[in-house]
C-alpha cells in the first residue's frame, strides 16, 4: 500500500496498521496498534537504555510518545502529508521496566496549521504513567471534498 493510501485508510477507518507498516523506524522499535486508540511498544532487548535496572531507554519512550501523537492526529483527520513535529516535551515519571509499553494520545486542539496533543505512556496501569508528553504538530489537512 502506498503512503497516501495508508494515510487515507487511517483517516477514514481509524486503522493505522498500514501506516505503521509503512514507517521503517516504527517497525524497528516494534510499535503496533492495540485498538481503541491505544498503541503498544513490544518489548525487545534492543530498547534497553540501562541494563543494570534494567530500564527502557528514555529516547525510545520519547519516540513512542511522539509517534503516537502523530498517529492519533492522522487517525482523527484527513491529512495530505505526514505531520511534522514542532516540539516534543516529555516528562519522565517512573523508570520504564523491561516490558511492553502502551500509549494513548488525545487531541487538545486541532488547528488548521498546528495540532496540540497530550500523550500518556504506561506499563501496568494507565492511571500510573511512566511518561507523559505534550506534542505540537505542524499539520497538512487534506482539502475537504463535498
Amino acid at each position: 500500500m502506498s503512503l497516501e493510501a495508508a494515510l487515507e485508510q487511517a483517516a477514514v477507518t481509524g486503522d493505522a496498521r498500514a501506516l505503521l507498516e509503512a514507517i521503517p523506524y516504527l517497525q524497528f522499535l516494534g510499535v503496533e496498534s492495540a485498538g481503541d486508540g491505544a498503541y503498544r511498544l513490544r518489548f525487545g532487548e534492543h530498547l534497553i537504555g540501562n541494563p543494570t535496572i534494567p530500564a527502557l531507554h528514555g529516547g525510545t519512550l520519547g519516540a513512542l510518545l511522539e509517534s503516537v501523537a502523530l498517529l492519533t492526529s492522522l487517525t482523527s483527520a484527513r491529512a495530505a502529508a505526514l505531520p511534522k513535529t514542532i516540539t516534543l516535551t516529555v516528562e519522565y515519571l517512573r523508570s520504564a521496566k523491561a516490558q511492553d509499553v502502551w500509549a494513548r494520545a488525545h487531541v487538545v486542539k486541532a488547528g488548521r496549521r498546528v495540532t496540540t496533543l497530550r500523550v500518556t505512556a504506561w506499563q501496568d496501569d494507565e492511571a500510573t504513567p511512566v511518561a507523559t508528553a505534550t506534542v505540537h504538530l505542524r499539520v497538512f489537512p487534506a482539502q475537504v471534498s463535498t
Binding site: 503512503l3 505526514l82 516534543l88 516535551t89 523508570s95
Partner: protein, 150 residues
C-alpha cells in the same frame, strides 16, 4: 590531569553498555572540557518518512537524550545513577536524509540533585536542525525519580 581514561570509559559506556545505543550504532564522536558529541550513523531502519528517507524524529530524540546524559557524566566524573526528568526537543528545520547526525550537549549547571543540559543536532558542517533541553535527577541509585503514588 589525564583525560584519556575518563573519556575511554565514557566511550565504552555509550557504545557498549547501552543496548539501545548498540542497536542504533550510536558512538562518542568528540568531547572536550564542557561538551560531548555523539554520532548516529544513517540507517534505512531509522527512516520516518518512506517518501523522503528523512530520519524519524524519534531517532533524533534518542540521540539528543543520550548526548544529554553523556554530558552529565562528563561533568559529574562519577558513575552515579541518573534519570531523565524531562526533555524538550524543538525540531528547528528539515531533518536530514541519508546522512549521519551529530548531537552536541553541554551540562551547563550541576546542583547536588539535578543536572541541567542543552543540546543540538546537526549534520557535519550544517546548521542545527533540532535543539533539546533536559533535566536529570542525580544519584537515583536505581530508584524511580518521582514519588510513588500512595
Amino acid at each position: 590531569m589525564d583525560e584519556t581514561p575518563h573519556l575511554t570509559l565514557l566511550q565504552e559506556a555509550i557504545a557498549h553498555f547501552v543496548p539501545h545505543n548498540r542497536a542504533l550504532g550510536i558512538v562518542l564522536h568528540a568531547a572536550d572540557d564542557a561538551t560531548v558529541t555523539l554520532r548516529l550513523p544513517y540507517s534505512e531502519k531509522l527512516v520516518g518518512n518512506p517518501l523522503t528517507a528523512v530520519l524519524h524524529g524519534g531517532a533524533v530524540t534518542t540521540l539528543l537524550d543520550g548526548a544529554c546524559g553523556a554530558a552529565v557524566y562528563l561533568k559529574l566524573r562519577a558513575p552515579l545513577p541518573i534519570a531523565t526528568l524531562d526533555l524538550r526537543v524543538d525540531f528547528l528545520g528539515k531533518p536530514p536524509a541519508r546522512q549521519d547526525v551529530l548531537a552536541r550537549a553541554e551540562c551547563y549547571r550541576l546542583t547536588r540533585s539535578v543536572a541541567f543540559v542543552r543540546a543540538e543536532a546537526r549534520v557535519e558542517g550544517g546548521e542545527p536542525f533540532a535543539a533539546a533541553t533536559a533535566t536529570f535527577a542525580l544519584d537515583t541509585r536505581g530508584r524511580v525519580p518521582a514519588p510513588e503514588a500512595p
